[in-house]
């Protein structure tokens, strides 16, 4: 990990994020109000939008798919509340807390690091949005946390590969050419 505090326009750093509870939620649109109540966070309807309520976040990844993230100690409670509404509001709630590893790439050169492996136009991914996309051949969820800060959720087994590119990129930016 690179922990320097360079501020030149090309500097970037990467850090692993601490574990959290993560769920994949699938449901039909007409049950979302009921589900939002149980989640304690309103699920967004537009793909790429993130809703947040007191450290619980819901990211709309597809027309019927959401990523839920919340503090680790709240996972069991969420599961229990959702189980109660299973008959009223059919859905799938899969625990994927261990499926991905998550990293933050930040610094003035962060967008360049992402652009080494992601073909998306990052200008269109404005702060406060997150999408599933591809990074160097691996499926990732890419969050824009700030103008110069991205979060990358990547399936665990792909992480060494993706991280190797990120580290290479940071060194490349440091060379300044």
């Amino acid at each position: 990990m690179n922990t320097d505090t360079e501020t030149r326009p090309t500097a970037a750093r990467v850090e692993p994020l601490p574990p959290e509870a993560r769920f994949s939620l699938r449901a039909r649109a007409h049950h979302l109000d009921r589900i939002s109540e149980a989640l304690w966070v309103g699920v967004p309807r537009r793909i790429g939008d993130i809703a947040e309520n007191d450290a619980r976040r819901a990211v709309c990844l597809g027309p019927d798919e959401w990523l839920l993230t919340l503090p680790e100690d709240q996972g069991a409670g969420l599961k229990a509340r959702m189980a109660e509404i299973r008959h009223d509001a059919p859905h799938a709630l899969a625990d994927i807390s261990d499926r991905e590893l998550c990293y933050r790439i930040s610094g003035p050169g962060a967008a360049q690091i992402v652009a080494m492996g992601c073909p998306r136009d990052l200008r269109a991914l404005v702060t406060g949005r997150a999408v599933r996309t591809v990074f160097d051949g691996a499926s990732v969820i890419l969050w824009r946390e700030a103008e110069d800060s991205f979060r990358l959720d990547i399936w665990r087994s792909f992480a060494p590969h993706a991280l190797a590119l990120v580290e290479t990129g940071i060194e490349e930016l440091r060379a300044g050419l």
Partner: protein, 996 residues
Amino acid sequence: MSYRIPGRGRVDHADPVRFTFDGKSLKGLRGDTLASALLANGIHLVGRSFKYHRPRGIVTAGSDDPNALVETSRDSGRFEPNTRATVQELRSGLAAESQNRFPTLEYDVGEVNNLLAPLFSAGFYYKTFMWPRNFWDKVYEPVIRRAAGLGRAPTEVDPDHYASRYAHVDVLVAGAGPAGIAAALAAARSGASVMLVDENSEIGGSLLSEPGVEIGGTPAWDWLADAAAELEALGVQVLPRTIAMGYYHQNMVGLCQRVTDHLDTVPANAPRERMWRVRAARVVLAQGAQEKPLVFDGNDRPGVMLAGAAQTFLNRFGVRVCDRGVVVTSHDSAYHAAFDLADAGAVIAAIVDTRSEIRDDLRSEARARGIEVLASHTVTGTKGRLRIKSVRVNPVASGRVLSPRTLFCDALLMSGGWTPALHLFSHTKGGLAWDAEAQTFLPDRKTENCEIAGAGRGLWGIGAALADGAKAGAEAAGALGREATTPEFDVTTDRAGTGRAHEELPTDRNPSRVRAFVDFQNDVTAKDIRLAVREGMRSIEHVKRYTTTGMATDQGKLSNINGLMIAADALGKTPPEVGLTTFRPPYTPTTFGAFAGYHRGAHFEVTRKTPIDPWAEAHGAVFEPVAQWRRARYFPQGEEDMDAAVERECRATRASVGIFDASTLGKIEVTGPDAVEFMNRVYTNPWTKLAPGKLRYGVLLGDDGYVRDDGVIGRISEHQFHVTTTTGGAARVLNTMEDYLQTEWPDLDVWLTSTTEQWAVVALNGPNARKVLEPLVEGLDISNAAFPMMSVADCTVAGLPARLFRLSFTGELGYEINVPARHGLALWEALMTAGAPHGITPYGTESMHLLRAEKGFIIVGQDTDGTVSPQDAGLGWALGSKKADFIGMRGLQRPDLVAKGRKQLVGLLTEDGAVKLEEGAQITAERDAPLPRAMIGHVTSSYRSPALGRSIAMALVKDGHDRMGEIVYIPMENEVIAARIASANFYDPDGGRAKA
């Protein structure tokens, strides 16, 4: 002697740079290219040609040079053939070597090819490399290929690394000459994000060679400095040393940026080159035009150079390319090269003009400098072995070539006019139109959102280029909804001109003796093109391939139009009737490194690793790739080879207990009120009656009825299944399920989630598996009665939350323990500790394959090949025949699938148990039937079985199920092996061990 003019050009006269050429130490200046530095040292001869090994010199000042290809090296491993001396910037210590010569550039034995030239006429390869057959190996490849090679391939691994980047901009401007700069400024001033790229080391294009021009009263180079400052202030991303190498769909342009080749020392971690994939809303092509050579006898001699190149070497690099030059031209522009050189102290012996009418101002300027102008003349030959010494010129009157005279010189500067650089435009399949007046093709019908500006669409002169560039930049901005203005440019001393295009110049000599080159690098002459037409080539594409004109590394930049003019003349057609050959990316030769980018070495491709991978690595596992995963294949101890390790692993598992990392198995959580209905429709088996807590082996077909995947599936609750798939099939199976769910059965309330990586999975197999596991389990009775074969339950294992499967892929008592992936390694280590008293033995994929083969369990993709039905595979029992439908159910009724004669999966036992069959070997019914013998099947799996003490195999054999006990034959190279067809369930056939 130095041909450098003190103080002149954009080189730094205060910063000398040492380099070597063919071992000789030379001096150049910072800002030189290798070519300009060589010319400053009076060196024109830089290489030998591809076919005839003729001495060749520098022809152009840019990336289009066909001759100036040299080998360059920086240090060990950093060696590159075919570096263009006109592109390579001089750096301290640069070592350059000429190519295609032995022993030296001056005395090359390969030059004998030149005397054999009549043998190497058009279509030489097609006519010669035909017969006899054994000449391929003995003569053509070893001798002719080597003699005709282009440079040497590097022998060491390239130590450099290469980068790549995606970029998105509003406007990409390719080419930073006057048109490109004006376009970038106009677009950027409107607020658009702009990227401006140029292949040269600095922006400026033709302005770098025309310092005498004034723009709005400002000298060109001062204007350029102002423009560069404004581009920076506007935030334009300016990339010099960057070639726009390909123009792809929907305004994606590939750029190759040279990052470190010009540096004396390379900073750590800096990439040598960077490939950019730029998506631009609008593209402005401002790549200018390329000067054409004239085609005449001896036009390839060192010292024969394009007039515009001589002008660039003089004005940009401060190098006078000759003491005494002759100019031959069909275009006005060459006059200015002559004037500039004369003003710099060179003698211009004459300007030979193929045209009869010459502009008065050019005549009077020549007269003022004492330069003789020879109108209506042709060039009919040159002399000089390693450097031109004289040129033979003749007047032409009424189509007749009159008597010659000889002009002595040390350089001949030629200009056949200019061709717009159409390459990138042509990559888009844009249409071209023939401009009869300018005698050139111009861009016409556009297929992409692009503008073409300046000389690239036939507008000559700095003023026209600036105005057109600004207009293109403003149009690009306007198309994006931005308001842009187009400034006026008041350009003085602009030197625009006109000219005409030619086929080869007329001559008074015996045409069979004339060597007038069209493609310098590939040694294609005008005569070759005419011969190709005589021999029946009608399409320009055929002429190109037959003669190889335009197929050199310059991709016909110099030769295409000349070749077309000659072919058209020979065919009696107009140039537009004949047309141009297709330009294809890349625009200039591009390194493999740039294309590979980061994907080399350990990063070559995605390598997925399981949570237990670090343990396997630390314990000496030998890995194998399985789909994108790397999996432990076996765990050798001491000096064991694979066979020995596998035998030990298998014996230990059957005797006590083995442990296996099964984390790569695909896993899909199927959840929802309609989960069971969905499972009934997807898998062949019936699922309705499978109780929660139970497992079933499931088979997945395609709608054609063939086996696609299999796996053990657990019913977790009424509304949830835990599906497992093969390692390689995980993504494909989920895709198939999503496909049917989304598009065929969107009414079903069921959802699919990949949990492959949520779980780490450890398989425990062997008679002592329960003894190892039982003490670690909490919350579940795993006795045989309480937790029998094919059960699933959630519990705690070694203090970790777990989902426990009881199943067997080995024939032994077996469990698969799923834990959240972060705990995978901890679980593995806990089981290793707990199993130590029982001699727990880790095994890899090889033993897993062997153990399952002893039981006759199939591996989809090894024992099936996409044309195997479940009945063929002996899995008919897994078909839910009472169901209304499942994927593949209808396919199973297809005539071909119910016919006799299908290949069916069986076991094979060689008559001699010591003989192991080859996987893939073909099978015949008879030992000695005449050839060709009918093949009735092939071996799919074959092993030496430690448990049976003999070889075993599985095979797909025609009507195999009806041939039990029959002997079949496997013909090999030196023997025919006899084998008996048997059940593939070789070991513990009643399955008692797994149920114990």
